[in-house]
């Protein structure tokens, strides 16, 4: 069963504001009709009509652009069974490389590679844990974070996050310093680290 994450994103807030705005316009118009004298009514209503028309048009444009953003830039994470999130960190030729893949149906795999050593683990996440993963990713959406372009310092790992939803793929590579500079990215790193720990029964720690 796939349930939508309860993310109170900016788009959702925008839609709520627009709905309130429509209601407010309607109530104000009714008040105007009731309170204004007949002599003033025609001129006042005309002005009010154009104000409301402009506001409503702007609201509709905002609303449609909000929907456009929703479909193009911030489609929900791990929403369907053919969606997945992949996290990879490190170098297999030094401290080792850890890869975590979480599927929309809750299947989670962890792989640790260091030179010829390779360890793989697979587990099904419990529904409540999957929901926790979804809500964390929704709250700290990796697509909102910025990747620094500065030089790496020695031994600095790279973090790659890939999000797949059907035929759409989003991928970005961060440097390790990015997670220390952006605490919300660190939340995602901690999330994937905890999944790696759980799925590998403590054998993969970071």
């Amino acid at each position: 069963m796939n349930t939508k994450p309860r993310s109170y994103s900016k788009n959702r807030k925008k839609r709520i504001i627009i709905t309130y705005f429509y209601i407010d316009i309607t109530i104000n118009l009714l008040n105007d009709l009731r309170m204004q004298s007949y002599s003033d009514y025609t001129a006042f209503c005309s002005v009010r009509f154009w104000v409301c028309y402009t506001a409503a048009t702007a609201a509709m444009v905002l609303n449609s652009s909000s929907r456009l953003m929703n479909t193009q830039d911030s489609w929900e994470l791990l929403d369907t069974s053919n969606s997945s999130v992949r996290y990879q960190i490190g170098n297999p030729h030094f401290e080792g490389q850890t890869t975590v893949v979480i599927q929309g149906n809750g299947a989670a795999s962890v792989e640790f590679v260091r030179e010829t050593e390779k360890r793989s683990y697979l587990k099904q996440l419990a529904p409540e844990r999957l929901e926790e993963v979804r809500s964390t990713l929704a709250a700290y959406d990796p697509r909102k974070f910025t990747a620094s372009q500065k030089d790496l310092v020695p031994d600095e790992a790279q973090i790659q996050i890939e999000i797949v939803e059907g035929d759409r793929t989003w991928v970005r590579t961060f440097r390790d310093q990015d997670r220390w500079d952006q605490s919300n990215l660190q939340k995602d790193v901690e999330l994937f680290g905890s999944v790696a720990y759980e799925v590998s029964d403590g054998n993969v720690q970071f």
Partner: protein, 231 residues
């Protein structure tokens, strides 16, 4: 005490880049290299853990860097190289953020429970030594046979796979340090390996044992006073 000479150099190993900064003192009987580290943390780390990291770093640096090289000047005078760490808060050569538990360390981020060899490795970077393990991102180290790669149990190489116990600094590292100190002080120096003596390792026992055997074979008959020593 002689005035310190600052060594400050930008090291490039694209896409990696960092500033190597430390001080050297030319003494009559040795050459001191001093690295001042500011160890700080945004997280709650106990004083005990901080002290553990400090002591572990000093021990690790002492183990890998000291009693390792002699610097020989143009007159043939030999001075042992001694590297020391100082933890300070003002004007450090290296800023390090300390994190609890285990994690992926780098030059500027250390973890309390990381293996001490990693901190000696990072100090190596602070002194200007480059990495020597394979990294597909690096131009000089992209593959196992690239020019910047060494598989000879180097402290700067992949000691995780080659063996932590066998890791050590190599002659090339001594030469890098000698060149930097020479450039900064104007005194031409060459590095020469010193016999490695480890407190608990087999070298000390073997060296002493071999020395005593040689002494017994070569000199015992000349100085009979000592011939009665149990060897």
């Amino acid at each position: 005490m002689p005035d310190p000479v600052e060594i400050n150099e930008l090291i490039q190993d694209p896409p990696f880049g960092w500033t190597s900064r430390y001080h050297t003192f030319i003494e009559d009987d040795r050459i001191d290299v001093r690295l001042r580290i500011n160890l700080r943390s945004d997280q709650q780390i106990s004083l005990r853990d901080v002290l553990k990291v400090r002591a572990g770093t000093e021990d690790s640096v002492n183990h890998y860097f000291n009693q390792r090289f002699e610097m020989v000047d143009s007159e043939g005078r030999k001075r042992p190289l001694r590297v020391s760490i100082e933890f300070i808060s003002d004007s450090p050569d290296l800023m390090v953020r300390l994190h609890p538990g285990k994690g992926r360390s780098n030059l500027n981020h250390w973890f309390v429970d990381a293996d001490p060899i990693i901190r000696a490795h990072e100090v190596g970077h602070a002194l200007g030594l480059p990495d020597e393990y394979v990294d597909p991102m690096s131009k000089n180290r992209a593959t196992a046979d690239a020019s910047g790669i060494y598989h000879d149990h180097s402290l700067m190489g992949n000691f995780f796979s080659e063996g932590v116990d066998q890791a050590e600094l190599k002659q090339r590292h001594g030469e890098i340090l000698a060149n930097k100190i020479s450039e900064a002080t104007g005194i031409p120096l060459k590095a020469q390996e010193q016999p490695r003596i480890t407190p608990n390792g087999p070298h000390e026992v073997t060296t002493t044992h071999e020395f005593l055997l040689q002494y017994k074979e070569n000199w015992a008959h000349i100085q009979p006073t000592y011939s009665g020593m149990k060897m």
